[in-house]
Amino acid sequence: MTLPNTAPPATATPPVISCRNVWKVFGPRPGAAIERLKADPLARIDGHVSAVHDVSLDIMAGEMLVVMGLSGSGKSTLVRCLSRLNEISAGEILVEGRNLAQLSEAELIDLRRRKMGMVFQSFGLLPNRNALENVAFPLEMRGEPRAARIARAREMLALVGLQGRENYFPRELSGGQQQRIGIARSLAVEPDIWFLDEPFSALDPLIRREMQDEFLRLKGMLKKTIIFITHDFDEALRLADRIAIMKDGRVEQIDTPDRIVLAPATEYVARFTADIDRARVLHAFGLGVAPDAVTAGAVTEGAALPGGQTLRSLARSLVNDRRDWIPLADDTGRVTAMLERARALDILLGDAA
């Protein structure tokens, strides 16, 4: 693992999705409203709501971006702009280098049939189809023969742990099971880009936890570019490679969980992080400094700690280790950073300001 301080990881490949100054304004005259909002960002225009407010961001291949915001912050609208369920009012969105807004209807449908999958908050299942037929729906739209799509749907249901329930109709299943169908359906076409719009918000806390674990399992297995929407900060911290925090249609900060906790960009972001048990979130690398920056005389030899783990999971070692500076090793065992023990203990004990 590399130092997570750099904002977008690995800039060698072009981003999968790239947003440039994207606006989405609802109302009768969005164009005029945007002009006024550009002049005065705080203007309120009668009959218009700016749900996405001048958003620019890049999403890299294989990355998982969590978009976090409270209800009405525009996060769901943003993800609908990325999948062009909503047309944007201004700006441009490039998906694998192609301008999304300029795709014809047929091209857009083709893109969705091959590249994109989406999971919805209230599942969006068809009540008249059983689990199997729901999962096979996108394949059916694509015109695949019945036998092939049923076989594939069976496979997907097994993947999400619903084997034996293929004949059940959505209303006969629990919320968690319904969302498993939704996930299986979104994965049926083997999409490269996977959108999840608050997939676990409608579920009970225990089921939600279980589904998050399930999701992490799938994520590790499938290696997809993931855009995950949530209003739950804990969920965001638990799942994300990077988090974008939204408020009133604007992206307040887009960064790794460690950086969001350590260096909140705005007052609003700071309020979110205030009550967080940082030791659970921060990885040792998040506090690490380059070995040569450590003041002379410090002991740099001895056993290294794995830098990719959270401070909480390293707690016992940190308390027992007597060194002021502790070397941190990456997955290959190479020491790449040094951790100041006192600072780590402060965070662990909750004394850090």
Partner: protein, 647 residues
């Protein structure tokens, strides 16, 4: 919300002062009636516009010059061909395909199987039993004549309604045009539909079928558009993300998801068809309705009760079957079952039908029950009814005398004494008080149109019949509804009774009142009262049961007595729902007054019947619209009231 929004007043705010002023003016007009010029008392002749002639001109143009006649005749020809097919299969009319008639036992088994499949054994017994009853009572021919028309008309209405509903949902312009048309269409009395059909197509089964099709389309359009609009956004988005084209989205996502609403529309279409087919006997439609009409006119009570029971049973069976279909939820089968294990009802049906066909060859009684072998309960009914009527005769005679001398005649005289200008002002005042100048204009406009149509006096007779009947219905309906709402089980039972009563074709309500009161005004009022009380009971019960339990608990914890609870909390909260009942009640009474006209009233209904027998389209349309406008005026007032209350 910006400042300007808060300062700007609603454009049409209710203004009690102006309403009071208008009422005052109306009162002055009434008090100074003696001194008023004649033109303010009755609509003067120069004010009356020849609407009927205009309508007739348009119709003549459509019929003769545009050649619409050829088109309608062609359509009628196709409908007739289809009617012949169903008639042959159901009761053996000798037409192509010359297969029928089906043995009655086969039809009864099929209906029972449908019942079993859709709703379990109770529905199977009800459906199978109904058709057995029809056969055993020797009414098979008439009932099949009626059903053969429904079998043709309903699919036509369903397909037309579905297409128009999709168009209304998809194109806002279509919705904007259709909405007022549907509003008027749904408040036009049945007879108004029949006259143009008689002109274009003539009388007989095909005219009956076509009028049935036209009459039953509106609810299908409404329910389809509603169902499509109610499909959850996320389901549609999921379909779009699945890569569905717009057409795939409609066919595979939206329509299946709107299934329940669309099937409720189908239920309404079939019930409307039945109501209309029964009434279409007035334009020569054979079947149960015609038999009932003849028997009622001949005052053959026992036989008309028999027919009445059949119509009611058919109504209940059709309603329950289609409703069960609409509410049916998909259910999975256990894995690994054979085809015949998954469809036991289908298998049983096939076996039973084959058996019935075979047995019918051996025992002809299973194919057809000849008239002379049919049972009849007419004689005992007549016997019992004679006794009952003799017993209650003093009461009904007194009631009749009392109602006519002390209520109906004084009321009619009073309403005819009022100058029309005063009534117009009072109506406008009501509009102003409820919905501001806009409502005053709308409601006043409806009533003014009636004044200039030349049917003012007749319309006022209709108004007093409806007004009095609804008041009487309220005296029965509200207390009954309040009583029923006292307990959950009781409310459920009452709602079931009301729902069942509402499925009966309105014609049925005439049987008991003619039995008890004979053929006169009082019988009409009694039929209307019974018919109009049903929605009042229903919505009062619904409204009271719908009050939030926390609210009632909060009132109880504040120490409210049962009476206080009812008057201070439950009734005010339930009022909007109860007003929906009042609205429906007014509509029902208008329809009923018109239908009841054939047993003798002097209102718009009687004139409509005359227009029907003279095939006078212009007069028929004007009269029909006059009735519709009365209904729409009340509808507008009640709706504006609910809207203002909600705001």
């Amino acid at each position: 919300m910006s400042m300007t929004d808060q300062i700007r007043l609603p454009k049409s705010a209710p203004r009690p002062q102006i309403a009071m002023l208008l009422i005052g003016l109306a009162a002055v007009l009434v008090l100074t009636r003696a001194a008023l010029p004649e033109g303010l008392i009755r609509p003067p002749d120069w004010l009356i516009l020849p609407f009927a002639d205009w309508v007739n001109t348009v119709f003549t143009f459509l019929r003769d010059d545009l050649g619409l006649m050829a088109l309608t005749r062609a359509f009628a020809g196709m409908v007739e061909w289809l009617l012949d097919v169903t008639a042959n299969i159901l009761y053996g009319k000798s037409r192509w395909p010359r297969l029928g008639p089906l043995p009655w036992s086969v039809v009864a088994i099929t209906m029972a199987a449908l019942g079993a499949w859709l709703g379990g054994w109770r529905l199977a017994v009800l459906a199978g039993g109904t058709f057995t009853w029809i056969a055993v009572m020797g009414q098979w021919q008439w009932a099949m004549e009626t059903l053969s028309v429904i079998a043709v008309a309903a699919p036509f209405s369903i397909v037309t309604g579905l297409l128009l509903g999709i168009a209304a949902w998809r194109f806002r312009l279509v919705a904007r045009v259709l909405d007022p048309v549907l509003n008027i269409a749904q408040s036009l009395p049945h007879f108004a539909y029949m006259i143009p059909v008689v002109v274009f197509i003539g009388v007989g089964p095909k005219a009956g079928a076509i009028v049935t099709i036209i009459f039953s389309v509106p609810p299908m359009i409404r329910m389809t558009a509603l169902g499509l609009a109610k499909v959850p956004d996320e389901v549609v988005e999921a379909g779009r993300m699945g890569g569905a084209t717009p057409f795939q989205l409609l066919r595979k996502v939206r329509l299946p998801t709107a299934r329940t609403e669309i099937l409720v529309g189908v239920n309404q279409v079939i019930m409307q068809c039945l109501a209309m087919v029964v009434l279409a006997s007035f334009i020569g439609m054979p079947g149960l309705g015609q038999k009932l009409l003849q028997l009622l006119q001949a005052l053959k009570i026992g036989l008309s009760v028999e027919i009445g029971i059949t119509i009611v049973l058919i109504a209940v069976v059709l309603d329950r079957l289609t409703r069960a279909w609409a509410m049916r939820q998909p259910q999975h089968h256990a894995g690994g079952l054979r085809w015949w294990q998954r469809h036991p009802v289908l298998l049983a049906w096939a076996l039973a039908v084959v058996l019935a066909f075979a047995l019918a060859q051996i025992f002809p009684i299973l194919a057809q029950v000849p008239r002379r072998e049919a049972l009849s309960i007419a004689a005992p009914i007549d016997l019992v009814m004679d006794q009952v009527i003799r017993l209650v005769d003093p009461l009904t005679t007194w009631l009749r005398w009392f109602l006519i001398t002390w209520v109906l005649i004084p009321l009619r005289d009073a309403i005819q004494f009022l100058p029309f200008s005063a009534i117009l002002l009072a109506v406008a005042a009501a509009g102003w008080a409820i919905g501001g100048w806009r409502s005053a204009l709308v409601v006043g406009g409806f009533i003014a149109l009636i004044a200039v149509s030349g049917w003012w006096d007749r319309a006022m007779i209709t108004v007093y019949m409806v007004g009095f009947s609804v008041c009487l219905a309220a005296l029965i309906g509200f207390p009954l509804g309040i009583w029923a709402a006292r307990g959950e089980a009781r409310a459920q039972r009452m709602l079931l009774i009301c729902d069942t009563l509402q499925t009966f074709p309105s014609f049925i309500y005439l049987i008991p009142v003619v039995m008890l009161f004979g053929v006169n005004d009082v019988a009409v009022v009694m039929a209307v009262v019974t018919f109009a009380a049903v929605p009042l009971i229903r919505y009062t019960t619904l409204g009271l049961r719908g009050v939030a339990p926390e609210l009632i608990e909060a009132a109880q914890m504040s120490g409210a007595t049962r009476r206080q609870l009812l008057w201070q909390v439950q009734l005010p909260m339930a009022l909007p729902v109860m007003m929906v009942g009042v609205n429906q009640s007014v509509m029902f009474s208008l329809f009923m007054v018109i239908i009841a006209a054939f047993i003798g009233t002097q209102d718009l209904g009687q004139e409509l019947q005359r227009a029907l027998s003279a095939s006078d389209v212009g007069k028929g349309m004007v009269l029909g619209l006059a009735v519709a406008f009365l209904g729409l005026a009340v509808d507008h007032l009640i709706r504006s009231w609910s809207r203002n209350r909600a705001a």
